[in-house]
């Protein structure tokens, strides 16, 4: 018998190899998920890992059928027509008939897939890239200070001053600056508190810090928005670009060459860039902030994505079409991410502004402290404005003009 077994097995194996596919095999080819009982297959998982879009109707639509439930007196009848998995699928894909006692908007959405993507992005790239943006700016400024040193008043202080900013202008500036700094610190505490501060302070000590940060962020935001309007109204007229700005930019603002002082009116091109950055980023961060402050009430990303798609911008940078149908929670998640991204860029730029307005340039802080600046400082850094204000030439005939001009 043993001798016969081997040839018979060989013949059987050969038959298997040449035999046409069975009916079961055919069915598996027609419906690849038949082998998993309708659940996802290895190919689905691999496709998702390759970043491909998987048609998830096999899962989305598998939510049971109460109409086909066993009769209530029959075996398993009390279970209804949907298993636990099917009920959870219906909740996940928004197909369940949900009643909740919470009365807030979007409270019937109990499971939301995008939340994990948002959380991972917030925990990972947002903190890492944002942290590098801030560290990079501080590093650049430190390098600049090391190589260039503070920008001195070349002609020395004259001892006489001229009014540069009146009290209302300074009030608006400090309202904006003070609120911005508080918002930046409280925002960073909110984002980095869990990984950085809890290990340092412990959870008990961090809790009131987090609570205070939230209160400050939510309420000081109004002062920021008011101040943004204030400075816009007061300074827009001085921040319209003109030809002198091109000269100023071509000479790097005189920042990199000692003795170089390109002419400028009340605001030079660098300050105008700061002004418009503050206005544009300030508006954007205020809009996303309001959306976060009143959850689910001010959705704006689906509409924005629709406009961007229409302009062809996402397609131009290989992003494809952006989604124009967003769940209420996705709207909030996009608002949070955008708010943080804009905030990091904003903070980095303002760090540079603070540097140049304080230790980076001799005499600059006076403009916002008392409003009065040294006349020699004004001659060197805002010569056209000095001439307009005083009617005197910025560089009198007996003085040689700055060497690099």
């Amino acid at each position: 018998m043993t001798l016969l077994r081997l040839p018979m097995l060989t013949i059987f194996a050969a038959l298997l190899l040449v035999a046409p596919p069975s009916a079961a095999q055919q069915a598996a080819d027609d419906n690849p998920r038949a082998v998993t009982g309708g659940a996802q297959t290895l190919e689905d998982i691999l496709a998702r890992q390759r970043g491909e879009r998987v048609d998830d109707r096999f899962r989305r639509e598998a939510v049971g059928d109460p109409a086909r439930a066993a009769g209530i007196r029959m075996q398993l009848g009390t279970l209804g027509g949907a298993s636990d998995s099917e009920v959870f699928r219906a909740l996940r894909y928004g197909g369940a008939d949900v009643t909740v006692s919470a009365r807030g908007p979007a409270s019937e959405i109990i499971i939301q897939d995008g939340g994990i993507r948002w959380l991972e992005w917030r925990k990972g790239p947002l903190r890492e890239w944002g942290g590098w943006v801030l560290a990079g700016m501080v590093g650049l400024l430190a390098l600049f200070l090391l190589l260039r040193g503070p920008i001195r008043i070349d002609g020395g202080r004259s001892g006489e001053t001229i009014l540069r900013f009146n009290a209302l202008e300074r009030f608006g500036h400090w309202l904006l600056a003070g609120s911005f700094i508080l918002l930046a610190i409280s925002g960073l505490i909110t984002l980095f508190g869990r990984p950085l501060l809890i290990p340092l302070l412990g959870k008990d000590a961090f809790a009131p810090v987090a609570l205070a940060s939230k209160w400050i962020h939510n309420n000081v935001a109004w002062a920021f928005m008011l101040a943004l309007v204030w400075v816009f109204v007061f300074w827009i007229v001085h921040n319209i670009p003109n030809r002198a700005d091109l000269v100023w930019l071509a000479k790097g603002g005189g920042l990199f060459v000692r003795g170089s002082h390109p002419p400028a009116r009340k605001f030079n091109a660098g300050q105008k860039i700061i002004f418009w950055v503050v206005v544009v980023l300030g508006l954007s961060i205020s809009a996303s902030g309001l959306s976060l402050l009143f959850p689910f009430e001010i959705p704006m990303f689906a509409k924005t994505f629709e406009i961007l798609n229409g302009l062809g911008l996402p397609q131009a940078v290989n992003l494809g079409e952006l989604p124009t149908q967003l769940s209420p929670h996705e709207e909030m998640q996009y608002a949070q991410l955008w708010h943080s991204i804009v905030a990091f860029i904003f903070i980095a730029i303002i760090i540079a502004h603070i540097y140049l307005g304080s230790i980076g340039m001799e005499g600059a802080f006076d403009a916002m402290e008392s409003g009065e600046v040294d006349r020699q400082w004004a001659r060197e850094h805002h010569s056209l404005w000095f001439e307009e204000e005083t009617g005197e030439p910025a560089h009198p005939a007996h003085e040689a003009p700055p060497a690099a001009e």
Binding site: S101, A102, R103, L175
Partner: protein, 40 residues
């Protein structure tokens, strides 16, 4: 320096006023999100 201090004071006043005004107008989280079955 006085403008700076007044601005910081104004900032504090605006923040407290905003908090009270929003709370009074029914925008407190508990007011917006909790149903009648939830105790405040």
């Amino acid at each position: 320096m006085r403008a700076m201090l007044i601005a910081f004071l104004a900032m504090a006043v605006i923040a407290v006023a905003a908090d009270l005004a929003l709370d009074y107008s029914g925008f407190a989280t508990s007011e917006v999100t909790a149903g009648p079955a939830v105790r405040n």
